[in-house]
Symmetry: D2
Subunit: 432 residues, 4 copies
């Protein structure tokens, strides 16, 4: 029987084992080359150590899949339930979030071993005959969950390395190769692409995977609107700075202006001006700012202030979704190995460029339940619902998002002050 | 010419002078009987001293009306621009909000004198011939603004007196009289009142006053829903407490549960248990809890947790508005002099009882701009727009709201952790 | 029998009633002219409202004297035990210190009435026949305690008024008169006055009153030293500022430098530069800085940094005491009505000028128990002993200290970051 | 020429090279077996990563010795001056202390290489002919400095491992061996050992090394006193707990009681009660409490409260020094490899047992300058002097102190709330 929030009927049971193996391997690939220390340190409360991500995604499978469906499974280490539970109150107490970086033990090797042993259990489970739909649904959820953490491994490492005055690079070689593949061109002036108003169906309806927060599909009314043909670029952001954007209270939300002053914001996160040149900390180390690439590492407050400065506004999440639905899900995702934004390519034919990948685009929509939203039963029901307060929806994925993870109905969400994700903006405005 | 956000054409220029005089007097009436100290102390950052409210509402007229339309007006005291500006960045720097309680001078008498002198200016202005529509619109805005502060005077005094172990009463006599008029009856079981789904027009359209955030009117899609026939009562809240509501994390939003633990919430604000009886601090001093009256002084977090516990949910602001539009705006407002919630009267015929007055009802809607929202030009444009982040909409007014101030489209808003207003909830649910 | 810490044998029982009456009246005189609001607001955690001082000093007599020695005494209001207990854990719970300013009730008039009723009780007690020595000792302690709070009333009001952009004056008239009596002269260069080393007896031995922390007298070894003939002046402090004193980390204690940066100290508390002139907030309102008057409102950190800058050091409390013992206790105390520092007069003959009065002089001595120190039995034993940690001793009294309160062995103490007292410094150095 | 604060004439130039090599190797030995992560994570602001200690002690030699006396020396990495400067303002800006744990790079291997290269420089310098006395003095200071950090490596690792629910052990094997060597015996009742009063010379006078804060020697007056024959034991501390020591405000300094309540102290740091048994986190992992061993990991506040509870007091640092001077410097130091306190051995003949080693003994003396104290010229003058505020002196060394580092005049110092050192207490009382 279906659990509310998990839609088991849609799982392709044939493809699942291979997807699982690929996903699990992809996570390991991300930590290749990290030192034990790189994988252990927590650079702020919002971020988690790479090692913790490795273990937590594994615990997720152990707790929700093996624990429920593989009766012969013995916990690899009963203490891991405490160490690697993220926020599931129904599972029990856990290592306090700000102290995830205290876990110098278990070692990275021990965590990799933990992964192997849980993978073994999953393999046994998948080979052991037809699984209930609910079990398949949980495995699929575990894969999607792990993909989310793959992105977080990258953004959290970037934050960690940014705190180090040596500005270490995570992946230089891969980046260089990827760089070569891009012919950097000056971003052309963004155009306004118009869309009709009316009644639109939003939310997930297809047969593929979706998170509970993307459902149920429902109708919304839109008034005619326009979206910019591409995200705001670093070059445009420099204009905002030069025009006193960070010093003009009338451009800002009240809470945003308070934040600007309290933390002395003068540019996006990871920007640094040296000898009158702007540098940006990236996963390839500190680099000159790529002027034609989409601006990233913005808070909602900054995105909103820029839009006001530009005489425009942020789109709602439904304006974004209605416009995106017709476009193929393709763009500068993590598979490029670049791990930073890049200028729009010349040859794209879609009117809306860089809609997927590059940067998560802040929308003006508060993260909230869709009409008729139901959480899943049990601890896994805490996955999304309990965070529907105080956060804003971002759409479209980023250069750190795993390929294949995105879709038009996908809803990411962060607090309006948070900046360490690859978060940018695309302008919107009313029409007519 | 009309300023965006101010709709001058609708002002009834004939009635305005009298409305103004009545409103200004009503504010003074509220501080009758307060000591100089009562009127000066600030009990928390969110609250302001009564004296400051008296002065700020006056400054609002002086700054935005006299300053712009009465050329002969000399500032009563140029330093008041600093002291009594609330948050208008465009006007200039101001006394920091947490330090409003430092202003033991000017005295209450000096502030009353300030009020008189600005009132004189307004009278001169209104008698001096036909005023531009924009001026009339600003005067009307000033009246509505002052009414909002009338409510805050009451809620801020309640908070102040609650910090005093002597539990002083603000108005005992008036309350007693009002009490006499109420035949307390046990609240009957709440019924579910059903409403159809479909496309509804929300937002303000009529000719009367509305704030910018209530406009423009626009269409929204609603799915069929039901609202409880009355707000949740204190008696029902006791059931929630007895059932471990404040100790059950699965009932709470993540941020809400963090707040519960950090501040050790065990009951609504102002409740105190003594010798196994529950008392409630009110503007008439500490009183036994009235079990059949609507529960007040809830945070959004508590309202949301209760709804989940009850197997229901909070209404959206548009569900509330669609249901309320048909009902007369009547209820337990401030004119009763009771200043606390009271049980639903027996003789009401409306299916939705206590929709207006008694308690502001938390909705699940984040406070956001309506499609096509425009702020007014100039400093007055900071009135509402810059607060559209992180707050939730409440509807319906309370026992501290001035009569005549409310309407079906009225949007109040507070942060989800705030509890010092008369804030309660009405349950909603989907209709299958 | 003597209580440890209270030396009853020394009380002059004849003089006590008159001293008591004079002291009690002097406190009331200090609040003459304050508004109810002035007397109620608390401007920071370290300060208390004047009304609270009035009540607390009264509670001290009620709790420790009437409660113990006047069996017929009924508490004036049993709730005052909670409201006006400062820090006596043995007496019981109390209004949290940061919330003393919430007490808009009882009113000032009610507190004055409370004072009268306790005074009546004390009069009855004193007229009722020979009192035990311990009772007399507690009354004397109550008088000395109240004198300490008289000084705090002044310093706390100064802080309150300094938070008000209107910069209200506490007592202009009295000040003007006092001003007239002073012929302002340029302070001459400070001279070094040398003192021999050797073994000295310090601490209180005479028959008059002393606090427990001044006892027992004991011997200390001093090496030859010199003291400056007068305290550092405002003019000299300007040199320190001009020389980058507040920007030079090598001058500062580590904790001091952290404070300088965290709070952006650039001058003593209450100094403000406007149009290139320095003003100082005083109890007579904002005034031009008196260049030849001793600098006041310094933290220990500032005093210590200045001394290092000047190639000198702070004296120990025993160096100060050994030098002061020979001098009459006379100076610019509160009776002058000036309530601020004034230049050394020309006609003084003592080699050490302004040793008493004007400013409390920071010493390098941590506030600690003398060898053999005993606290009094009971709650009153909490008077001094429990504060012997983290604070530094100041000597000599200030322009806000009541006349007759000081003596050579008197030890005042504050935390090294505190600045709202009239605290200054006198330089010392080694000799030979 | 002698720098104030550095006494070069006393350095034994012959022995220095060997001492240096031994000291440098001892530090490396301490990190043997640590993972890269163990050596990198910072568990609190007060603690530093082991890797940082390794680098900082090396930087100390590079900055102050090679930089000044080896002209051919090129900085190993110029960025290390920023990364590994601890608090020397005169050297320049530095990695903020709370962010020392962000340095996942340079790696442990790179730091070890840094050490080798600086060691090479030092060797070249020492072989290059007669060095100025000042250079020798700085090398000796560097050795002593590194020994201090050897102790901190141990205490900081203990804190780090205590934050890990797995309770990892730092050195089990070594500990077991050491354990075997101790015949645990029930601690006998502590005796009081009396000492005469009078004038005593304290501070360092001999020819060996001493820190600037131990000088100049000077005379102090002591009144007759007694010291307990051994430190307070864990067993005795259990009596304090059982008697409500942590719940009785009258036992505590005011600041101490505030800390007890704010941090909910119920036992010394690292104690944990499980199933009615007390365990203690040690460098050998979690262990049953050794009842007869000296209690460790106390704040000054706890030590002071215990002494009051026991009807005694803490000794002054000079009482301790006068008593200790006659005793050989021997005890349970780090060379035992035990790294925790152990019961007094039966066969000791000294009247004062465990005076050296086991636990640093809190004294009632605020850390302050001795009369005539001078800091060294230059950045190295910041070594001790700028910390002489708000801290208390501890004497005698601990089970984590390197052998040979201690002497009777040695002054350690910490803030009164700090508990992560091996800090305990020995009772004192007045005599006669």
């Amino acid at each position: 029987m279906e659990q509310a929030g998990l839609r088991a009927e849609s799982v392709d049971a044939m493809a699942l084992p291979e997807q699982l193996v690929r996903c699990r391997q992809a996570t390991l690939d991300l930590v290749e080359g990290l030192t034990e220390a790189d994988a252990t340190v927590q650079s702020m409360d919002d971020a988690s150590p790479a090692k913790w991500h490795l273990a937590h995604t594994t615990w997720f499978f152990e707790e929700f899949v093996l624990g429920a469906y593989l009766p012969t499974h013995q916990p690899v280490d009963p203490r891991y339930r405490f160490l690697f539970n993220s926020y599931y109150e129904a599972v029990g107490p856990r290592q306090p979030r700000p102290l995830r970086g205290m876990l110098t033990r278990p070692s990275l090797a021990e965590i990799v071993d933990y992964r192997c042993r849980v993978d073994d259990g999953l393999e046994r489970l998948l080979c052991g005959g037809a699984l209930p739909e609910a079990a398949l649904a949980l495995i699929e959820l575990g894969i999607q969950h792990e993909q989310q953490h793959q992105e977080l491994i990258l953004t959290d490492l970037l934050h960690l390395f940014s705190m180090n005055p040596l500005r270490p690079a995570y992946r230089v070689a891969a980046t260089a190769a990827a760089d070569g593949g891009t012919v950097a061109v000056a971003a052309s002036h963004a155009a306004w692409i118009g869309f009709d108003g009316g009644c639109f169906r939003v939310g997930h309806t297809g047969s593929g995977f979706s998170f509970d927060c993307e459902r149920p599909a429902h109708q919304v009314m839109l008034v005619p609107y326009a979206l910019a043909s591409r995200p705001v670029t670093n070059r445009e952001w420099l204009d905002f700075i030069a025009d006193g954007g960070y010093r003009t209270p009338s451009l800002w939300l009240s809470d945003g202006w308070a934040r600007v002053r309290a933390e002395d914001w003068q540019a996006p996160l990871y920007w640094e001006q040296r000898d009158r040149h702007w540098l940006q900390m990236t996963l390839a180390g500190e680099r000159p700012l790529d002027l034609d690439a989409p601006v990233a590492h913005l808070s909602y407050f900054e995105a909103d202030a820029y839009a006001r400065w530009a005489g425009a506004r942020l789109p709602t999440e439904f304006e974004w979704e209605a416009a995106a639905r017709a476009q193929p899900v393709a763009g500068n995702f993590a598979s490029s190995g670049l791990f930073r934004t890049r200028p729009a390519s010349r040859d794209g034919q879609a009117p809306l460029r860089q809609l997927y990948g590059d940067v998560w685009e802040w929308t003006s929509s508060a993260y909230a339940a869709y009409p008729g939203f139901r959480t899943a039963a049990g601890a896994v029901g805490e996955y999304n619902g309990k965070f529907m307060c105080g956060q804003y929806v971002l759409r479209g994925g980023s250069c750190a998002t795993p390929d294949g993870h995105l879709r038009a109905t996908y809803r990411n969400f962060f607090y309006p002050h948070q900046r360490w994700q690859f978060s940018g903006l695309r302008l919107a405005r009313d029409r007519g």
